[in-house]
Every structure is written in C-alpha cells, then in structure tokens.
Amino acid sequence: MAGELEGGKSLSGLLSGLAQDAFHGHPGITEELLRSQLYPEVSPEEFRPFLAKMRGILKSIASADMDFNQLEAFLTAQTKKQGGVTTDQAAVISKFWKSHKTKIRESLVNQSRWENGLRGLSWRVDGKSQSRYSGQIHTPVAIIELEFGKHGQVFGIAFLPAQRGKPSCKDTSSSC
C-alpha cells in the first residue's frame, strides 16, 4: 500500500541499509531483505522504484558531500517535485545525513584510495649493526617496519643517519 511508503518510520532503517550497501561495502543487503524487514506490507513491484529513488537521493547527497544549506535546498526541491519525497521523508533523510555524513564520507574517501595505505609503523634503533654482505659497521641504525594496504603487507627499511644524527639522504654523491 502506498501509504506504507510515505511515512518516515522505516525510512531511517532503509537509509542505513542503503548506506551499508552503497558506501561501507557490507555484503548481502538485498532489495528483498530490506523490503521484508522494513516494508513487509509493500509489494516488491511497488518497493523497487521507491528503493531506487531513495538510493538515488542518498547517492546524490553523498557524492556532492552536501553541507546543511545545500541539503535543505536539495530536499525542499525534492518535496516540491512530482514523484519526489514527502516532508516527513525529507526530515528523516536530513536527520540521517547529519548523523552519518562523516562516516559515509570516510568510506567514500577510502574507495578512492588505490595506492598502498599505511596501516602501521613499528621501529627500533640499533646501536651497532653489521651486515653479512657488507663488512662495515654502521652506528647507529633505525629499522622501521611499515605495514601497508588491506592485506597487511609488511615492508622493512633500515636507515642510517648521516653525521649529526640526521636521516639520510638526498645527496646521491654521498655513500649511504
């Protein structure tokens, strides 16, 4: 029944589900799951366009990273147009964005990061070290373990400070 869709009560839950699916990469949030959990009296045929509309609105808001002025203007326009949203629904959407904006934005930023991210850093300073392959003794040396990316790839580096304890070195003519 159309009346079920117009209210705001289940909409909050729906927006959460949509956000989990679209932004936070949570698997298994299907149209049928959302319908049966939140709008059980609504038929799938009626639910589908409603869901698409709400998803579209949420994605527009998130993609533009709307501030509260933009949000107000956008939602007001949505309430005025044919096939838009009710004022109740607009209020629920507004409240949802205000409380979830930061987290959604964080997820969107992460989706746009393709380089290795730095997940962790550990370090140790050794007073003296000697390598099997070089006869030299370097004192002191900092050994740093960098943990990259989503799969915890670990990358170790050693750096030997130049004189006066400063880390080396941009000058390719000096031996590092």
């Binding site: 930023v109 850093l121 004192t139 990358f155």
Partner: protein, 87 residues
C-alpha cells in the same frame, strides 16, 4: 594507524628482510573528485621510498597517508631521530 610496539613479532633485522633506504620523496596532493564521490576534497601525503635490497637491487615503494596518518608518521620519525641522537 597504530604507532607503537604491539603484539606483532619482533622486528627482524636480517639483511634479507630489511631494505636500505636510499631516498625519500614526498608529495602533498588533493583529490578533488572521483567516480564514487564528485566532491571529494581529500588532502593526502604520497611517499616514494627508494630502497636497495640485500642484493643491491634498487626498487621503489610508494604509499599514501591521510593527514592524521602523516602526522603520526612524522611524530614517529621525530621520536626515532631523538633516540638515535642518544645512542
């Protein structure tokens, strides 16, 4: 980003595992827009490490940090620098 010692295994200083740092390059970037978010406005620090492995082969390793991650990274290195002075 975790910074200090954790339950992870102790750092292994074997020369097969540890690469020697030759050069450190950085870039401060601003991601303006992407397919997932038109208004991204995300500043980041990108780092390119040039290292030599145990065989002497030089390779590059690049990675990216958010500003808070970079601030932690910088703080760690300041600590290293301070400790290394005392050794």
């Amino acid at each position: 980003m975790e910074g200090s010692a954790s339950e992870k295994p102790a750092l292994d200083a074997k020369s097969e595992v540890t690469n020697q740092l030759i050069d450190f390059q950085w870039k401060l970037g601003m991601a303006v827009s992407s397919d997932s978010c038109r208004s991204l406005k995300y500043p980041y620090v990108a780092v390119m490490l040039k290292v030599a492995d145990h065989s002497g082969q030089v390779k590059n390793k690049s990675f990216e940090m958010t500003i808070p991650q970079f601030q932690n990274f910088y703080r760690q290195f300041k600590e290293i620098a301070a400790v290394i002075e005392t050794v």
